[in-house]
């Protein structure tokens, strides 16, 4: 068994190259992403104490967040608003993105690349900047928005929406739609361009119109992308913060009508004006956001993708 008697078998050297290749990325990712995510979940199980973290309290913080007479209304309000925010994106942003992508998938259409480039422009800008741009346009003091509506005969429809409880969330949602419509447009475009020409040509020769081609061929064939767009929208929306903070401030007014999970998390953690911040309760809100996002991702992986597999088989 000694090496002297069996010289033929060489021991494999320690794979130092693997350590060099993988070490830095894995270390940085573990230290600044995985560890904080797990540690934050741990903190959500502790009560407040002298140095910030006190005793282990189990799921008490979660129970408080869902039932306490001060905390619960804010949580359920933010959740409901966030669901509405997501619904606006699913009902407005993604259908518009799909419509534009279908039009842009026409093989013989001049200026396709130019349209695509121009329509995508807002997406590269900062959400904060986009929020302020729209805030300015909708500002009754400047009157550009009002003037534009008057020009198309809808002048009486105008109101200082951002200050009204009902419309504020819808208007903020539409600002976000305006900015991000380019992403579903590009993702759908890529999927539509991957459909072989022959299939669509054959359908056309058989006398199918644009709508039948869309319903019968294009829509089923881009089903995987519809799922990807939906889950990206979901994760992005339930993690949103910047736009509401920039346009409506940390209190997400008026009367918390634009409060979503991200702004609730920020206020709970840092405090705002009279409200004191709490790291452990902040971690609890983050824990709830984690559960919500996990729920969405699981739904996508186990329901949507599984259905696609059976459909294809």
């Amino acid at each position: 068994m000694t090496s002297a008697t069996r010289p033929a078998r060489r021991r494999r050297p320690f794979p130092w190259h693997l350590v060099v290749f993988l070490g830095p990325a894995v270390a940085l990712y573990s230290a600044f992403m995985v560890f904080p995510l797990l540690d934050s979940l741990r903190l959500s199980l502790f009560g407040p104490g002298g140095g910030g973290v006190g005793q282990f309290v189990g799921i008490d913080n979660y129970v408080r967040l869902l039932t306490d007479s001060n905390l619960a209304p804010r949580f359920w309000g933010a959740l409901a608003n966030n669901i509405e925010f997501f619904a606006i994106h699913m009902l407005v942003q993604n259908p518009i993105g799909l419509l534009l992508a279908v039009i842009l998938s026409t093989r013989i259409l001049r200026g396709r690349a130019l349209y695509r480039t121009l329509i995508f422009t807002p997406t590269v800008l900062s959400v904060v900047i986009v929020g302020f741009v729209w805030k300015l346009i909708l500002n009754p003091l400047w009157g550009v928005g009002e003037g534009a509506l008057k020009a198309v005969g809808l002048g009486s429809f105008f109101a200082p929406w951002l200050g009204l409880q009902g419309p504020a969330l819808i208007v903020v949602g539409l600002m976000s739609v305006w900015q991000y419509v380019g992403i579903p447009m590009l993702l759908f475009s890529a999927a539509l361009l991957a459909i072989p020409d022959e299939i669509i040509e054959a359908a056309r020769v058989d006398g199918a119109g644009a709508w039948r081609i869309f319903r019968g061929i294009q829509l089923p064939m881009i089903a995987p992308t519809i799922g990807v767009v939906a889950i990206l929208t979901f994760v992005g929306n339930f993690n949103a913060f910047d736009l509401v903070y920039a346009v409506q401030g940390g209190l997400a007014g008026p009367e918390f009508s634009t409060d979503i999970m991200g702004t609730l998390f920020y206020r709970t953690f840092f405090g705002f004006q009279l409200q004191l911040g709490s790291p452990t309760l902040g971690a609890t809100v983050a824990g709830m956001m984690f559960l919500i996002i996990l729920f969405g991702v699981c739904l996508y992986l186990f329901v949507w993708q599984r259905r696609l597999v059976t459909y294809q088989a």
Binding site: F21, A25, F32, T106, F120, L125, V127, V128
Partner: protein
Amino acid sequence: MSAVTGLRRVVTPSAVGKHAVLIGYTFVALFPIVLIVMNSFKARNAIFGAPLAPPTAATFSTIGYDTITKRGEFPTWLSNSVIVTGVVLVLVLVLGSMAAFALARYRFPGSRMLGLYLALGIMIPIRLGTVSILNLVVGLGLGNTLLALILVYTAAGLPLAVFVLSNFFREVPRELEDAARVDGAGHFRIFGMVVQLARPAIAVVAILTMIPVWNDLWWPLILAPGRSTATLTLGTQQFLGQFVSDFNAVLAALTIAMIPMLLLYVIFNRQFIRGLMGGALK
């Protein structure tokens, strides 16, 4: 093929309809941006009197930009943003391509698990770990430093980079690598060769990494809110909050904040679009 296209160039009602929709939406997408940039070069009474008119010799004014220049903070914010985004870009590309190369090209026990472990971060937003990240950053004495931002953005950017690049590296034919190995090239020489071939994928990763870092408000607000460490996005946000009623200054600030990204987009728009569409196909 050309005969067919030649035939179809005849203007059909359907083509007119399509162009009408596209032109209409292009207008919706660009109107707000053009409006802001245009009005930032006008005097106050022209901004209010005729907001839709482009600046003329009579209405031209740079008073908004003068207000900003006097405050003198924009250059600091801009350089902070450039430093943070630049360093993050280099770190994500170098560390990400090294890790992706190892995952794609070497077989070792646990390589699949490690790939999955790294991929987890694609779907889970790093913001959810904010409470602990702030503790960590303060514990390391990195509060209010650009380094804190760089570390967090790099950690957050690596999962997608490794995912996209390792998918790409897997498709590079192995014959090339084997030939080089026979010629005596070591692990790192071969890595260098394969990376050369990955330039399109690297452009995709660069763009997907850069946009969210440059535009982010959350981490500067939480980790580096100081005056000297503010990024352009955070600085502009605070500036706009203070100068709400000075329309000239607000319009100029918005324009300045938009210009770097718009400029990059004008230059690299093909890479941006192809990157996102190609990334989708993968």
